[in-house]
Symmetry: C2
Subunit: 351 residues, 2 copies
C-alpha cells in the first residue's frame, strides 16, 4: 500500500468540469481525514488555478497538469481514440499506466473513457473482451454488484458470461464474499423468457461448466431485494435500471420532504424523528452512490456521472481512493485471471 | 356508459389463482362503492366456489364460468395460441369480444395474454403491429405513460414509433392532455448514443413528419422526473425499468419502517407524524400501481402482476373498471386510428 494515494482526475470531463471537480476534492479530503491524498488535475490551467484560488482546502494537495484538448460528450469512441491523445481524459488514464497515480477518475464521455482506458491499460486477461461499468447497489441484504451499467451498448452471450466472471471477482475482492451468487437480469424467471442473447447466456452459465455460482434469471425487483450478489445485464438495460432507480430515489426524497412539511403535525413529527429522518434522506441521496469502476482493466478507472455535483463527484473520489488503498487490484486480477482461464478452456471445449 | 360494469377475470392466472382473485373482488367493491359491478370468474368451478363461500362480500356480484384448461406461466405464446382455446385466459378475453364484459383482467402469462388478445380482439388499426403493455408511472409532475413494459421482448424502430402513437393516444384519453410530449428511453441524450434500433426510431420520430410531439431521447431518471408525458421503450428495457422501480419502492418502505422504529425518539416522531407518514407509505406501495392495459386492441384487457396479492389484484380491477366506464375506448380508438393512418401514409412515403 503506498504511503500517499495519488488520484488522477480528468478535470474537464462531465457537465461542469473544474467548478465541480475542485470543490469535490475538498469534500473528499474532509471525508477521508485518515488518508494521505494527492490529486493530479488534468485540464485547462487557467480555469483550474482560478478554482483552486477559491478553494484553499484543495490547493495544497492538487497539482495542475495543463491540457488543452477536451473530448466532448458527443464524440464517438472511435473518434476519441483517433484524436484524443493529449486530452485531459487520455492523460488522466495514462497517469495510472505510468504509475504516477493509483487510480483515475472521469465524469466524461463513457464510451470514450472505456475505449481509451482499454487501449492504454489493456485488459487484465486476454480472454476478456471489453470492460464493464459496475454499480454497487444498496439492497435489503447489503450491497449487490450490478454490471454492465453502461460501458457497452449491447452485449452478446459470451460478453454476458464475462461480466459474470468479472462481477464475481469484483464482489469477492470488495465485499469479501467467498462464493458470490450470480443472476442474469431478464423479464421473467422462466426458462423461455427474454430474447435470444439472454437465453443463450443463461444456457452457457448453467451448462457451461464455468466457475460461476449461477442462480438463474432474476427480475428488476430482485436487484433491490438482494436475491443474488451479482446481477449481470447488458449495458443498455443496466444503465436504464440504474438511472431509473436513481430517479425513483430522488422522487421519494421529494415526497418525504413534502410529507413532513404538509401539516403542522407532520412538521412536528419530523422535528421529533430528526436524526432518523435525516439518515433516511441521506441513504436515498444518489450522490452517495456516484462513482463506479470500469472492470477488467489493468488499473483502476472510476467513472462519475456526467451531471454529478461536487458532493457526488467527491463520492467517486472516495470510491477511487478506497479501491486504491485496498488489495482490490491484486485480488481482482488474480480472481479474474483464474476465472478467465477456466472460461477460455471451457469455451474452447464447447467448439 | 353501461349501467352495470361487467369485468371478466382469468381466475386461474398468476401465482395464486382463485385465493387472490376472490378476495380482490371484495376489496375492489369496497373501493368503488359508487359503481354497479359484476364479475365473470373463469376457472376451476370447485375452487372458485370454495373461495366464494369464504368471501360473502364477493359472492353476490360474481358468476363462476367453469373452465378446466389452464395456460401455464412457462407456455410460449405460440403454444398458447394452438392449445389455449377454452382456457380461463382465453374465455375471459372472449367475453370482451362478445360484449358480455366491458373489460378482461388476467395475472397470467404475459406473452400468451398478448397473443390471444390480439387473435380474439384484433388490433384497432391495420397499421399497428402488436399490442404494448402500459404503465402509469407516478412522477414529480403527475403521472407519465410508459410503454412497452413487457408485452414484447424486442422491438424494431417501426414498433417503437407505434408505441409512441399508442402511448400518446392513451395519455390523451386518460389524462386529458391535448398534446402529450413523447421521449425515447436511451442511455444518454446525445444523438449518437444507444443501439441502432433506438437511433433509427429517433430519426423516424424526429424527421418522419409524424404527428408526434417528440422531445428526443430521455434517460432512466427522466421517468420519475416527468420530463415527458409518454416514455417509449422496448418491452425488455421497459419491464426491467418498471420492476427495478418497484424494487426500489419496496426497499424504501423497508428503510422507512426501520428508520421510524430505530430509536425511541424516531418512534415518537412516527406517532406524531402519523397520517402523513402513512400516506407516504401508501404512495410507495407497488400494489397501488398494479394493473396496466394492453394497448392497441379492440377492447380493454388489463394485465396484473403474476405475483400480486389481493390488494394489488384489486387495483388491477379498479383500473379495468375505470377504463370501462370512461370514454377511453372510443377516444383512444379515434386517436389511434387517426394517428395510425397518418403514420401509414408517412411510412409509405418514405419507401
Amino acid at each position: 500500500m503506498p504511503d500517499t494515494i495519488v488520484i488522477s482526475i480528468d478535470a474537464m470531463g462531465g457537465d461542469h468540469g473544474p467548478s465541480v471537480v475542485v470543490p469535490a476534492v475538498a469534500i473528499a479530503l474532509s471525508r477521508m481525514p485518515e488518508l494521505k491524498l494527492r490529486f493530479l488535475l488534468f485540464g485547462d490551467e487557467a480555469r483550474l488555478n482560478e478554482e483552486l484560488a477559491r478553494c484553499p482546502a484543495a490547493r495544497p494537495v492538487c497539482e495542475v497538469r495543463p491540457t488543452t484538448l477536451v473530448i466532448g460528450m458527443e464524440d464517438k469512441p472511435a473518434q476519441a481514440l483517433r484524436r484524443g491523445k493529449g486530452s485531459s481524459l487520455w492523460n488522466a488514464v495514462e497517469a495510472v499506466k505510468t504509475s504516477e497515480a493509483q487510480a483515475a477518475v472521469s465524469a466524461g464521455n463513457t464510451g470514450a473513457l472505456m475505449a481509451i482506458s482499454k487501449l492504454i491499460l489493456r485488459m487484465v486477461a486476454k480472454e476478456l473482451d471489453r470492460p464493464a461499468l459496475v454499480a454497487s447497489w444498496p439492497t435489503l441484504r447489503g450491497a449487490s454488484t450490478v454490471l454492465d451499467v453502461g460501458a457497452n451498448v449491447s452485449s452478446d452471450p459470451t460478453q454476458l458470461v464475462e461480466f459474470a466472471i468479472m462481477g464475481q471477482a469484483f464482489h469477492r475482492a470488495v465485499h469479501g464474499v467467498a462464493k458470490p451468487t450470480v443472476g442474469l437480469l431478464n423479464v421473467g424467471s422462466e426458462e423461455q423468457k427474454g430474447h435470444e442473447e439472454v437465453r443463450e447466456a443463461h444456457r452457457l452459465m448453467r451448462d457451461g461448466g464455468l466457475p460461476i455460482d449461477y442462480h438463474g434469471f432474476v427480475e428488476g425487483d430482485d436487484i433491490a431485494k438482494g436475491t443474488v450478489d451479482v446481477v449481470v445485464t447488458d449495458g443498455f438495460s443496466g444503465n436504464i435500471a440504474l438511472k431509473t432507480a436513481e430517479g425513483v430515489a430522488r422522487f421519494v426524497r421529494k415526497l418525504l420532504r413534502e410529507a413532513f412539511t404538509s401539516t403542522l403535525r407532520a412538521k412536528l413529527g419530523a422535528v421529533v424523528a430528526g436524526p432518523a429522518l435525516r439518515r433516511m434522506m441521506d441513504r436515498l441521496d444518489p450522490a452517495n452512490l456516484n462513482g463506479g469502476p470500469l472492470l477488467g482493466l489493468n488499473g483502476i478507472v472510476v467513472k462519475s456521472h456526467g451531471g454529478a455535483d461536487a458532493r457526488g463527484y467527491a463520492n467517486a473520489l472516495v470510491v477511487a481512493a478506497n479501491l486504491a488503498q485496498s488489495d482490490y487490484s491484486t485480488e481482482i486480477n488474480q480472481n479474474m485471471l483464474r476465472l478467465a482461464e477456466v472460461m477460455g478452456r471451457e469455451m474452447e471445449g464447447r467448439e
